[in-house]
C-alpha cells in the first residue's frame, strides 16, 4: 500500500510549465480563439452541439427524468399493494407497470446515467478538451432519447411490455402476441447499441486521452472504474443483443429457438439474458462506487488509502461478475455441481467488493472528515449496500435461494444493493459535482433534509419486504390474500415508499429551484485534489484552458501554482491557432504525448442518424418492413456522409507545435489512431455477440440426443467451404489493398479492392447457398434456425464489408485518402480481420461440427 506523505516537487525529466507569464495580450488572444472555436451554438442550433459539456448535461438530465418516471410507477405499484385485494390498477396494467418500472430503471436510468456522468466528467478528469469521438456520444444520446421516449410512451397506449424486465419466453413469445414484447426487444436493442458506442468512447478516452504524464498509477480512480465498466459492456451487452435477435425472430418469423416442441429451449434465453443481466448489475454498481472513490478523499482531506487495492477491486469485481449468471437460474433444475460452481463464484465476488469498502472506510478514518451533504449520502449508501450485500451472500447459497426465489425477499435484496450501491452514490455525486455544471452549489440544508427522507423512507419501504418475502409473498403478482399475513408489512412498505418519494422530491426541488440570486460557487468549492475541479465557475466550453503535465494523483493539492499555470496557458495546447478543436492523444501506460488529435465540431447529423436508425427499429416493431428497410438505407447513407465529411481529414501540415517545445503529428493511422482503437473495441463487442449465437448452437447440442438431428441434411460441406475460401480471398485482397496503398500503387490498390468486393459477394452467396441448396427450413426446428441465423449474421457482415470496400475506393479516388494518410483502409482491414475470423468459425461450426459428431 503506498501512501505518500511528503511529495517532492516535479520529478526530474518532466517538462516544466513556462517559467514566465506570457504577455497579457497573448493570453487574451489565445483565450478568445479558444472560446470562438469551442463556442456553443445558440437558439435551436444549441441541440446540434456535440461538446461533452452539453451532451453530458442533456444525457444526465434525461436519465433523471426517466428515473422519476419509473419512480412514479413504483408508487402506483405500492398503492396497489397497500392493502390485500386492492383495485387501483388492473392486473394487466400492473404487469405492464412492473415491467416498465424495472426495464426503465435498468436500461434508461441506471446504465445510461453511468454513460451520462462519464461523458460529462471524464474529459474534465482527464484534462482533455473532449473525448475522441464527440459525435459518437451525441449520436448515442439521441438514440437513447428516441428509444426511451418510445418505450415509456407505450404505457399510455396500453401497449407496454408486460413480461417482466427479464422477458422470459414462452411467456413473452407464445402468450404475449401484442407488440409490447417487440417494443422491448427492439427498443432496448437500439439503446444497447448506443451503450456500446458509449463504451467505445470511454475506453479509448481513458487509455488514449489522458494528459501528458498521467501514468496508469496516477489515473483518477474514476477512470479505472469507467475503464472496467465500459469493458464489461462490451462483453455483457452482446449476449442480450443476440438473445433479443433470436427472440424477435422467433416472434416475427416463427423460428423456434425457444419452443421445446420444435427443439428449442427457453433456458437458452435465460442463459443469454443473465450472461448480460448479472454483469449489468455491476456495470451499474462500479461507476457509482467510482463516484465514492472520488468524493471520499476530498472530504477526508487525504489521498485514497490503498489505491492499488481499489484498482484490484474494480478489475476483480468486473471479471468475477461474469461468473455469476447461473445464480439467477438455481431453480431451473440444473445439476448440483453446476449450482455449486456458481454458488462458489457468487460468494467469491464478495471479496473484491468488500476490499474497496474497507479502503473507503480506512480513508475516512485516516483523514479528518469534513461534514457535508455528499458524505452523508455516501455513508448512508455504504450502510444500505452492506445490508444488501449480506442478503446477497444469503441468496448466493443455492439452498437458501430455493426458498426465497421470486419472492419479495429478492425484491428487498436487489433494491438494497442497487439503491445503496447506485442511487445513494449518484445523489452524493449530484450534490458534489453540481457546481461543475451550473457554477452554483445545491443547498446544503435541503440536501440534508432530502437525505433523511430518502434514508428513512428507503428502509421503511424495503426492510419489511424481507419478511413479507419470507412469509411467502411472490413478486410480480398484482395482489395478495389477507390470510398470508403480510398486510401490515405491505402497508408499511407503501408508507416508506412515499417518504422516500418526498426525499427525491426535495432533491428535485433543489435542482430545479431558480438560482439567479445565488452567488457563483468558489472555484474548486470543496478543495478537491483532482483535475475536474480545475474548471472555472461557471465553466468555459473549452473544457480546460491548457492541458497540464501531471505529476500526482491529486495535482490540485500537490503541484505548485497548478491553477495559475493552466489559466495562463503555460502548459500544452493553450491556443487554437487554426480554429480547430484539438486535444492531445497519449500513450496508454505512461501517457507520453503522441499526437495532436483534431476533433469534429457541432453537427445535426447525429440527430438525423439517430432518427433514421431509430426508424428501422421502430417501424420494425410494428412489422412495417418496407419503411423499416427504407429507414435503414437512409441511415446507411447518413453514416456514409458523416464519415465522409467528418472523419480522417487530411491535415494542412504534418506536425504542429503544441507548446513547451513539443511538436506532435496531426495525423496517425494504424494502431496509432484513435479510430483504429475504436474499431477494434467495437469489433470485440461484435465478436461477443457472434460468440453468443455460437453458444446457442452448442447449447442445443448439449440438450439434444442428436444434434444436428439425423433427419436434417445440414448445410453440406461444399458451399460453406467454398464460401470460407472465397471470403479468405477477399480478406487477403483487402490486406493487399492496404499494403499497395502504402506503396502508393494506385492501380494495384483499386484492382485489389475491386477483387475483394467481388470475392466478398461470391463468398456471401456461397454461404447462403449452403442451407438454401439443402432446403433447410428455419421454421421447422431449432437446428435449421440456428444454422440460418449464423449464416445470415455473416452475410450481413459481408455486406457491410462491401460497403467499406466501396468507401475506401471512393476515398482515394476523390483524394480524401493518400498513401501517407490512410486511416480508412487501415481501419477497414481491421474490420476484415474480425469478419474473416467470424466466417471461418461459422463454417467450422455449421459444416465441420456435424462431421465430428
Amino acid at each position: 500500500m503506498t501512501v505518500d506523505v511528503e511529495r517532492p516537487p516535479t520529478p526530474p525529466g518532466d517538462p516544466e510549465p513556462l517559467p514566465e507569464r506570457p504577455p497579457e495580450s497573448l493570453i487574451r488572444a489565445q483565450a478568445e480563439r479558444l472560446r470562438k472555436t469551442w463556442k456553443t451554438p445558440e437558439g435551436l442550433a444549441y441541440f446540434t452541439s456535440v461538446n461533452n459539456t452539453q451532451v453530458g448535461l442533456w444525457y444526465t438530465a434525461m436519465t433523471l427524468v426517466f428515473f422519476l418516471y419509473a419512480g412514479v410507477l413504483a408508487l402506483i405499484m405500492r398503492l396497489q399493494l397497500a392493502q390485500p385485494g386492492n383495485r387501483v390498477v388492473t392486473p394487466e396494467l400492473y404487469n405492464q407497470i412492473f415491467t416498465v418500472h424495472g426495464s426503465v430503471m435498468m436500461f434508461l436510468f441506471a446504465i445510461p446515467i453511468f454513460e451520462a456522468i462519464a461523458v460529462l466528467l471524464l474529459p474534465q478528469m482527464l484534462g482533455a478538451r473532449d473525448l475522441p469521438f464527440p459525435r459518437l456520444s451525441a449520436f448515442g444520446f439521441w438514440c437513447f432519447v428516441l428509444g426511451g421516449v418510445f418505450l415509456c410512451g407505450s404505457l399510455f397506449f396500453n401497449a407496454a411490455p408486460s413480461g417482466g424486465w427479464f422477458m422470459y419466453p414462452p411467456l413473452t413469445s407464445k402468450y404475449q402476441p401484442g407488440i409490447g414484447a417487440d417494443m422491448w426487444l427492439l427498443g432496448f436493442s437500439f439503446i444497447e447499441v448506443a451503450a456500446i458506442a458509449a463504451a467505445v468512447e470511454m475506453i479509448v478516452g481513458v487509455l488514449k486521452c489522458r494528459p501528458p504524464g498521467m501514468r496508469v498509477n496516477l489515473m483518477p480512480l474514476y477512470a479505472w472504474y469507467v475503464l472496467v465498466a465500459a469493458a464489461m459492456i462490451l462483453f455483457a451487452f452482446p449476449p442480450l443483443i443476440a438473445g433479443s435477435l433470436l427472440l424477435e425472430v422467433e416472434r416475427a418469423f416463427s423460428w423456434p429457438f425457444f419452443v421445446p416442441t420444435r427443439g428449442g429451449d427457453p433456458l437458452l434465453w435465460q442463459h443469454l439474458f443473465w450472461l448480460f443481466g448479472h454483469p449489468e448489475v455491476y456495470i451499474i454498481f462500479l461507476p457509482s462506487i467510482a463516484l465514492i472513490a472520488m468524493i471520499v478523499p476530498t472530504f477526508a482531506r487525504t489521498p485514497i488509502v490503498g489505491y492499488g487495492w481499489v484498482v484490484l477491486a474494480a478489475i476483480g469485481t468486473g471479471f468475477l461478475s461474469f461468473g455469476l449468471w447461473v445464480h439467477h437460474m438455481y431453480t431451473t433444475g440444473l445439476p448440483g455441481i453446476s449450482l455449486g460452481i456458481f454458488s462458489a463464484a457468487s460468494s467469491a465476488v464478495a471479496i473484491p467488493t468488500g476490499v474497496q469498502f474497507f479502503c473507503f472506510i480506512a480513508t475516512l478514518l485516516a483523514g479528518r472528515v469534513v461534514r457535508s451533504t455528499p458524505i452523508l449520502f455516501i455513508i448512508g449508501g455504504l450502510a444500505v449496500f452492506v445490508l444488501g450485500g449480506l442478503t446477497g451472500v444469503m441468496v448466493a447459497i443455492a439452498s437458501f435461494d430455493f426458498q426465497a426465489h421470486d419472492s419479495f425477499f429478492v425484491v428487498a435484496h436487489f433494491h438494497y444493493v442497487l439503491i445503496g450501491g447506485a442511487v445513494f452514490p449518484i445523489l452524493a455525486g449530484l450534490y458534489y459535482f453540481y457546481p461543475l455544471v451550473d457554477g452554483k452549489k445545491l443547498s446544503d440544508r435541503l440536501g440534508k433534509i432530502a437525505f433523511w427522507f430518502v434514508f428513512v423512507g428507503f428502509n421503511v419501504a424495503f426492510m419489511p419486504m424481507h419478511l413479507s418475502g419470507l412469509r411467502g409473498m411472490p413478486r410480480r403478482v398484482f395482489t395478495y390474500s389477507e390470510d398470508l399475513g403480510v398486510s401490515g408489512l405491505n402497508l408499511t412498505s407503501t408508507v416508506g415508499a412515499f417518504i422516500l418519494a418526498i426525499g427525491i422530491g426535495v432533491v428535485a426541488v433543489d435542482v430545479l429551484r431558480p438560482k439567479k440570486q445565488q452567488p457563483l460557487a468558489a472555484r474548486n468549492p470543496w478543495n478537491a485534489g483532482t483535475l475536474e475541479w480545475v474548471q472555472e465557475m461557471p465553466g468555459e466550453d473549452w473544457g480546460i484552458r491548457s492541458i497540464p503535465e501531471i505529476d500526482s494523483r491529486y495535482p490540485l493539492w500537490d503541484q505548485p501554482n497548478f491553477l495559475r499555470d493552466i489559466d495562463e496557458g503555460r502548459f500544452y495546447l493553450p491556443d487554437a491557432a487554426e480554429g480547430r478543436r484539438e486535444t492531445i492523444v497519449t500513450s496508454a501506460i505512461d501517457a507520453r504525448p503522441l499526437q495532436c488529435q483534431r476533433l469534429p465540431g457541432n453537427t445535426s447529423m447525429t440527430i438525423v442518424a439517430a432518427l433514421t436508425t431509430g426508424g428501422f427499429f421502430i417501424f420494425g416493431t410494428f412489422h412495417l418492413w418496407w419503411p423499416a428497410l427504407l429507414s435503414l438505407a437512409a441511415a446507411i447513407g447518413v453514416f456514409w456522409y458523416w464519415l465522409w465529411t467528418g472523419t480522417a481529414h487530411l491535415p494542412e501540415k504534418d506536425q504542429k507545435d503544441v507548446g513547451l517545445g513539443l511538436t506532435l503529428p496531426l495525423y496517425a493511422s494504424g494502431s496509432g489512431s484513435v479510430g483504429y482503437w475504436g474499431v477494434f473495441i467495437t469489433m470485440l463487442a461484435d465478436l461477443a455477440a457472434f460468440a453468443s449465437l455460437v453458444f446457442g448452437y452448442f447449447f442445443f447440442w448439449t440438450i439434444h440426443e442428436d444434434f444436428p438431428p439425423v433427419h436434417e441434411a445440414g448445410p453440406g460441406l461444399l458451399w460453406p467451404s467454398l464460401g470460407a475460401a472465397t471470403v479468405l480471398g477477399a480478406w487477403g485482397c483487402t490486406f493487399a489493398a492496404r499494403e499497395l496503398n502504402k506503396r502508393d500503387n494506385a492501380r494495384g490498390y483499386y484492382a485489389a479492392l475491386v477483387l475483394a468486393l467481388l470475392l466478398t459477394a461470391a463468398g456471401g452467396i456461397a454461404l447462403v447457398e449452403g442451407p438454401r441448396s439443402t432446403g433447410l427450413d428455419p421454421t421447422t426446428h431449432c437446428y435449421p434456425a440456428t444454422v440460418w441465423m449464423l449464416v445470415l449474421w455473416n452475410a450481413l457482415h459481408l455486406a457491410i464489408g462491401m460497403i467499406m470496400h466501396l468507401y475506401c475506393f471512393a476515398r482515394r479516388w476523390f483524394g480524401r485518402m493518400t498513401a501517407r494518410y490512410d486511416i480508412d483502409i487501415c481501419n477497414v482491414t481491421l474490420y476484415w480481420h474480425f469478419t474473416a475470423l467470424t466466417v471461418v468459425i461459422t463454417v467450422l461450426v455449421i459444416a465441420g461440427f456435424p462431421l465430428a459428431t
Binding site: G213, F319, V326, S338, I341
Partner: protein, 126 residues
C-alpha cells in the same frame, strides 16, 4: 532509465491475465460438468471423471496463478522500496502494475479454490 522499465515492456494485459485464468477455469469446470451430466451419464449418475477433471483444472490454474503472482511480486519489489517515493516515476508505475498483478492473482486464486470445492463434495449429477 533501466531497459526493463520502458513503457514498451509493460502491458495492461498482465492485469487481465489472472482474471482470464479464473474465467477459463470457471468455464471449463462448468462446461465439463454440464456436458458430462447431460451427455455421458444418466441424470443422478456418478460424477466420476468430471470431478477429477475439475481438480486437474484447478491445480493447473493455481499453478499458473502462482507463477503470475511471483512475477508480479518481483516487479512490486523492484528497486529501493524503502522511504518516501515519488509516484510519478517509471519505477513506481512498474511496482504498481506488479502489485496489482499480485492482488489479482490472489483474488483469482481464492475464487478458483472456491470453485473447486463443489467437485470435492458433490459426487453425482443430481
Amino acid at each position: 532509465m533501466h531497459e526493463q522499465l520502458r513503457e514498451e515492456h509493460e502491458s495492461l494485459w498482465w492485469l487481465a491475465a489472472a482474471p482470464i485464468i479464473w474465467a477459463a477455469h470457471l468455464l471449463l469446470s462448468y462446461c465439463t460438468a454440464a456436458i458430462f451430466c447431460q451427455k455421458l451419464v444418466e441424470r443422478g449418475g456418478p460424477l466420476g471423471a468430471a470431478r477429477l477433471a475439475i481438480v486437474v483444472y484447478s491445480v493447473v490454474a493455481l499453478g499458473a496463478l502462482l507463477a503470475l503472482g511471483v512475477r508480479g511480486y518481483r516487479r512490486h519489489r523492484y528497486g529501493d522500496t524503502t522511504g518516501t517515493r515519488h509516484l510519478d516515476t517509471p519505477e513506481d508505475r512498474h511496482r504498481f502494475l506488479g502489485f496489482a498483478t499480485v492482488l489479482l492473482a490472489g483474488v483469482a486464486g481464492v475464487a478458483v479454490i472456491y470453485q473447486a470445492l463443489p467437485a470435492l463434495f458433490i459426487g453425482s449429477c443430481r
